[in-house]
């Protein structure tokens, strides 16, 4: 176990800059999730920590030791890949013991440590099998076993659950969390799935275009996103956005002329503004923002309403059930403390996707 410090790290392929100076200090035993859309540089950053990509500029320290230019094997890290990368010609036991064998660990100790890891992950009965005789979830577990046998300073996960089906993904997610609570190893976890990041991590780092957009504990990002990008990326279903100009202190005038009464005026006093409201923070009321319901989807515990407000599609999430029906006109209010106001910025695709 160890700290991990990333100091102003840059990465360029030729003249194309992909990471624009990232600084991140990870505490001993902390679980950090790097999250962002594809191409944001999160995997590149992880691969630089692993030593699989050269660092163009900057420094990476594991514990007290600078590892910037060390080969992967000298960094004492373990990595779980998206496609597991199990060695197909070796049994599960040999796969898990390979790293120890490379370190010339005595055979009896390898045996014992593999057995221990297998027990933690419930792989005892599979130790003599080859990877091709395993299911996706079992392969995933072997890949994790291979990592924990090492007892490394840092665990690196590169989208480890994206090859699994939805149900297994949820199950493995809790297993990873449990494993981290049990072992307490410093972990960096890359994912494009914000729910994975939110549920697993102590700290979520949202990346965009090679820079850190915002970092913090999951709920802090949810409660206080600093930009439209983070607001759109964190939370599911995604936040609704309204772009417009502020008039008379607290009236938002949308592009088509619709005027929406804001519960509070912008503390920063901007005129051009993007207002954000999470679907679950809307409340149905007798007066307020007018909208027309287009679809009502009830799942029992909650009801998702898709509606049109000034020609724009919005989502409203209501706890429990409601008698609202498609075609009905409704009014929406939002509590002053739950409304978000941002500098105008392009809204990322995630927020526009139909069902993220």
């Amino acid at each position: 176990m160890s700290t991990l410090d990333i100091k102003d790290v840059h990465k360029a392929y030729g003249s194309v800059q992909v990471i624009h100076g990232i600084t991140l200090n990870i505490k001993d035993g902390e679980f950090v999730a790097l999250v962002g859309p594809s191409g944001c540089g999160k995997s590149t950053l992880l691969r630089m920590i692993a030593g699989l990509e050269e660092v163009t500029q900057g420094e990476i320290d594991i514990g007290e030791r600078e590892v910037t230019d060390l080969p992967p094997k000298a960094r004492d890290i373990a990595m779980v890949f998206q496609n597991y990368a199990l060695y197909p010609h070796m049994t599960v036991r040999d796969n898990m013991g390979f790293a120890l064998k490379q370190r010339r660990t005595p055979k009896s100790e390898i045996r014992q440590r593999v057995d221990e890891a297998a027990k933690i992950l419930g792989l005892e009965d599979l130790l003599t099998r080859k990877p091709r005789a395993l299911s996706g979830g079992q392969r995933q577990r072997v890949a994790m076993g291979r990592a924990i046998v090492r007892n490394p300073n840092v665990f690196l996960f590169d989208e480890p659950l994206s090859n699994l089906d939805a149900k297994l993904r949820v199950q493995m997610r809790s297993e990873i969390k449990e494993l981290h609570q049990r072992l307490g190893t410093t972990t960096v976890y890359v994912t494009h799935d914000q729910i994975e990041a939110m549920t697993l991590a102590d700290r979520v780092v949202v990346m965009n275009g090679g820079v850190i957009e915002q970092e913090g504990p999951p709920l802090e990002l949810y409660d206080h996103p600093k930009s439209v990008f983070v607001a759109a990326f964190i939370g599911s279903p995604p936040m609704n956005f309204f772009e417009g100009t502020v008039e008379q202190g607290n009236v938002l005038r949308l592009e088509d002329g619709t005027q929406l009464q804001l519960p509070v005026s912008d503390p920063k006093g901007r005129t051009e503004i993007t207002v954000g409201v999470r679907p679950e923070h809307f409340e149905l009321a007798d007066t307020g923002w007018p909208a027309t319901v287009s679809v009502v989807e009830a799942t029992g515990s909650e009801t998702q309403i898709t509606a049109r407000l000034a020609g724009k599609m919005i989502r409203v999430l209501v706890r429990g059930r409601t008698d609202v029906q498609a075609g009905q006109d409704i009014h929406l209010t939002v509590k002053p403390e739950l409304i978000h106001m941002f500098d105008p910025a392009p809204i990322p695709d995630v927020a526009l996707e139909e069902d993220h």
Partner: protein, 288 residues
């Protein structure tokens, strides 16, 4: 309703067995087409000169092993067979070592101009061998290397290495690169990852490519004809010599007898490794 229900499977089964039979017949026909020359060669090798020229050709005759005894008790034919073994295995092994390593480099290592380099090497295969044979002879003579095993081995490598390199390159490309990355994180160097992970996984491909290379070198005639004269002469050259014997006319019995002996090791080799060959060709699907 009931009758059609009971009949349907039967009809289907009959139809299937018919198409199955047709397929078997087709396979037999094609096999015979390919095997007939080999069969005729073996048959001829046991005939006397008189039987060979009888019309219509005889299928049944008094077999004689005289030709075999005569030709394989002479010193030169066994010697040439040995030369062929040395040259073919030498060239096969050298080309597999160099070709596998360079194929791996082409597949994985980011090098400026690597792709161009690879294509250039492949293009060398487009040059007709006869155009290379004469310059090769001149180079060998200037270096005092004519009529030596090593000369033939190196000459064969000129066409085997591009072949091995490209075959192995496409094989390596099909393997996920995370395998080596994982091995490197687990404590291997790039070379260690290659030898401990990639080579064992690729063994079927490597072995089948090796066998192909040996067979190609085994039956090569042109370079051997140009580059050898006495000591390093290989069996294809010897066969060509028998066929082209203008003084006494072609000795067909000898030609076919030596030919049979030449073909046997190749056939045995191919049969031994056919499991690998098929696996090797179908491989690349061996992903994690």
């Amino acid at each position: 309703m009931t009758s059609s229900n009971t009949n349907a499977p039967k009809i289907r089964r009959r139809r299937r067995s018919f198409s199955h039979g047709a397929r078997i017949a087709g396979a037999i026909f094609v096999s015979l087409l390919f095997l007939f020359p080999v069969f005729w060669m073996i048959l001829t090798s046991f005939k006397t000169q008189v039987d060979i020229f009888t019309t219509p050709p005889k299928l049944f005759f008094e077999a004689t092993t005289a030709t075999y005894v005569e030709y394989f008790s002479r010193a030169d034919i066994p010697q040439r067979l040995l030369n062929t073994v040395i040259v073919a295995t030498g060239a096969g092994i050298l080309s597999i070592v160099v070709g596998t390593l360079s194929g791996y480099a082409l597949a994985r290592i980011r090098l400026r101009g690597a792709a161009t380099f690879g294509v250039l090497i492949l293009m060398s295969r487009g040059v007709p061998p006869i155009a290379l044979a004469v310059p090769m002879f001149l180079v060998a003579r200037n270096m005092g290397l004519t009529d030596k095993h090593i000369t033939l081995i190196l000459a064969y490598c000129t066409f085997l290495i591009p072949y091995v390199m490209w075959l192995m390159r496409s094989f390596f490309v099909s393997l996920p690169k995370e395998l080596e990355e994982s091995a490197m994180i687990d404590g291997c160097s790039r070379f260690g990852a290659f030898f401990k992970i990639i080579v064992p996984i690729s063994m079927p491909g490597i072995l089948s490519t090796l066998i192909f290379s040996i067979i190609l070198a085994w039956e090569e005639l042109l370079f051997a004809l140009v580059l050898t004269s006495r000591d390093a002469v290989t069996i294809p050259v010897a066969i060509a010599g028998i066929a082209g014997d203008t003084e006494t006319g072609a000795n067909w019995a000898a030609l076919t007898a030596v030919g049979t002996v030449t073909v046997i090791p190749v056939v045995i080799f191919a049969l031994l490794v056919q499991k690998w060959l098929i696996q090797g060709l179908a491989d690349g699907a061996t992903k994690g």
